[in-house]
Amino acid sequence: MSNHAAASLAHQHQFDDAEQQYEASTLGMWVFIVNEVMFFGAMICAYVVYRVVHPGVFEHASQQLNITLGLVNTTILITSSLTMALAVHGAQQGKRGQMLGYLLLTMVLGAAFLGIKGFEYAHKYSEGLVPGLNFTYTGPHADESQLFFSLYFALTGFHALHMVIGLGILGALFAVGARGMFSRDYHTPVEISGLYWHFVDIVWIFLFPLLYLLGLH
């Protein structure tokens, strides 16, 4: 986007021009992502510590997770990242139809992820593997297994919460975009929402091997 095109655009009063606004918004989202990385990082730190302290128990408990559903969800989320990137791609070129179509597809994939996650949660509940609500596992090391599932639900729960927020953002983008508010020259919200969505994908990229894969061998 060229400077003279940007300068003609509306921008909020605190900025000198639209370019400054764009750069500030992008940087703002990156700083927010730094904060989010630390947020999940702390939980992952707790998980890694207990994984080292109770290796056998955690591997055994991890085998209770459904690897197929985890793999399907990983595929869905990576695909949704692709569609999100293509939505941004469309926005950058001012192709409104492409942008809206891919946004919709991303939302469908995100919803599918949450649906499968909900199914997994319900299944765990019926198996009595939800600490605090219904935990009836009585095998050896029941307490340490409960620790694994506590962290599993904390990690995936906060991740799912981020997905729900992301779906809300995408829905808002779709509504605004459908009214033609974004153009080749102004699509900052689409871009920075894309950053957020990709970040949520990255969290899952780490959660999947950490939670699902460690007890397979």
Binding site: Q14, A24, M38, A46, Y50, V57, G132, E144, Q146, A154
Partner: protein, 540 residues
């Protein structure tokens, strides 16, 4: 009130309540924060008064042990999370960061307003916990006491701190983006006021550290609600892991409190010495160094917990390293004073008191960073005295000094300088009388967090309580003369102190957009040598 022909400023732009509660002007949001944190400070001080009154006598005759536990817990929670952390960044930083870099507002004004509402909501949860019986875990929430044993309202407090954390994160995010992207033409990084450098470093700590405490208290809350074992040793958890995560934030949080204060002192010392600061770039970089090192020393809070001795050694050595950038600052301030044309208006008196108190606080920190010595004085009044020298002697004196320095800019009114100087001296005397005896008490072995003690300690405790009374007077005085100045104070000129910096080039109080036109910066910060010594407008 201003005459009609006076140009509107941010205070007179609109008088309705709505215009305040829905404002996106960083200056008005700073005032909102000023009012809210002052209220929290009064609350926290009331708890402190209760603690000191109880400790007047060796017996527990004023409160029960349970009540006393709640008093020191709520004193700590209110002061740390709801006063000290937002104090300078959210009030002075909010007001000054955009003005000092020549911007019209912060990068995200609505997020700035949101951060204030988040703060208020978080504080409401904490207040709710206090009204419905209080909390008794200590402000550190050590598990499993906080997650399994305590019957007090830990969950509501944890929710309050979780929520308030986001207000701090959003403030930090706003500052980082603003400082990167919105500096006036010509304002390069090494021309920025040191106040801005300090706030930049603080913001990094806020963004990197605060999410960790948020998730940690969230896990404690979940453990409490669902009876999980995340930090419970009986169920395979490890309480020391909680302390690692807690101090990963809460040690850097000390630098959230002290770094902005250091920024303020850099401004005050140069202005009232009429000299540019000695070693500008060293002082600037030392802020970043403190923020960086602050993240890798948290284990010195845990020397006696049973963490690995080798880890303790590493943490001990790294803790000593923090002394280097801190000393760089202190020595450079002192070198700035040397052969300066000093004058002693109230802000400068605060700055000089700060220098003395921060030095004592910092040096006693070295005792505590030493593994062997720490085992002796851990959990005694020595620690209490040490961190009050940093947090009160450092952070609050910096806050008060800054408030006195920029009060004419914020309100457009001068306060009586003589009584302000007296108040600063009273704070200094009261503070030392309160906390110096506690070093001795701690060294003699008086543990913290007990509401009765052996008779031998009474004399020093009486001194400490007497000092707290004097300190209270020193805190109350500014509240009176600041309010007085709003009504009767002389109108402040744009630059009452003859200081450098963009904030002094705009009228007091500034117009809503801060500057009539975007300023252009052509010289380094603190070029006092080029300025004539002003006739000070300090008299009422």
């Amino acid at each position: 009130m201003d005459a009609p022909e006076t140009p509107k400023n941010y205070l007179t732009a609109d008088y309705s309540i709505k215009s305040w509660l829905l404002t996106v002007d960083h200056k008005r949001i700073a005032v909102l924060y000023l009012v809210s944190i002052t209220a929290m400070f009064l609350l926290g001080s009331a708890f402190a008064a209760g603690i000191r009154l109880e400790l007047l006598t060796p017996r527990g005759d004023l409160f029960t042990s349970d009540t006393y536990n709640k008093l020191f817990t709520m004193h700590g929670i209110v002061m740390v999370f709801f006063f000290l952390i937002p104090s300078i960044p959210a009030v002075l930083g909010n007001f000054l960061v955009p003005i000092m870099i020549g911007a019209r507002d912060l990068a995200f004004p609505k997020i700035n307003l949101l951060s204030w509402y988040i703060y208020v909501i978080g504080a409401t949860f904490a207040m709710f916990a206090m009204i419905t019986g209080g909390v008794d875990t200590g402000w550190t929430f050590y598990t499993p006491y906080s997650s399994w044993v305590s019957h007090t309202n830990v969950t509501a407090t944890a929710i309050g701190i979780f929520i308030t954390g986001f207000s701090s994160i959003l403030t930090g995010l706003n500052f980082i983006v603003t400082i990167h992207r919105m500096r006036a033409p010509g304002l390069t990084w090494f021309r920025m006021p040191l106040f801005i450098w300090a706030h930049y470093a603080t913001s990094l700590v806020m963004v990197l550290g605060t999410p960790v405490i948020a998730i940690t208290v969230a896990l404690v809350g979940l453990e409490r609600i669902f009876h999980l074992g995340i930090f419970n040793p009986q169920m395979g958890g490890d309480p020391i892991l909680f302390q690692h995560l807690f101090w990963f934030y809460s040690h850097p949080a000390v630098y959230i409190m002290i770094l902005p204060s250091m920024g303020v002192i850099s401004e005050l010392i140069t202005c009232f010495s009429r000299k540019s600061i000695f070693g500008y770039s060293f002082v600037a970089i030392s802020s970043l160094a403190i923020a960086f090192l602050g993240f890798i020393v948290w284990g010195h809070h845990m020397f006696t917990t049973g963490q690995s001795v080798y880890t303790g050694m590493i943490f001990s050595i790294l803790s000593f390293a923090v002394a280097i950038p801190s000393a760089v600052k202190t020595f450079n301030w002192t070198a700035t004073l040397y052969r300066g044309s000093l004058s002693f208006e109230a802000p400068m008196v605060y700055a000089l008191c700060y220098l003395g108190l921060f030095t004592i606080g910092g040096l006693t920190g070295l005792f505590l960073a030493t593994l062997g010595t720490d085992v002796h004085v851990h959990d005694t009044y020595f620690v209490v005295a040490h961190f009050h020298y940093i947090m009160v002697g450092g952070a609050i004196l910096g806050y008060l000094g800054g408030l006195h320095f920029w009060w004419p800019k914020i309100t457009g009114k001068m306060y009586p300088d003589g009584i302000a100087r007296t108040a600063a001296i009273i704070v200094f005397i009261g503070f030392n009388l309160t906390f110096f005896p506690q070093f001795v008490l701690g060294y003699m072995g008086m543990p913290r967090r007990y509401h009765f003690y052996v008779d031998e300690f009474q004399v020093l405790n009486v001194l400490s309580t007497a000092g707290a009374g004097i300190l209270g007077v020193g805190y109350l005085l500014p509240m009176f003369y600041f309010v007085w100045s709003l009504i009767y104070g002389k109108k402040a000129p744009a630059n009452p102190w003859g200081a450098t910096g963009l904030e002094w080039t705009t009228p007091s109080p500034p117009p809503t957009d801060n500057f009539a036109q975007t300023p252009v910066v052509t010289e380094d910060a603190y070029s006092y040598e080029n300025l004539p010594v002003p006739t000070r407008a300090s008299a009422v």
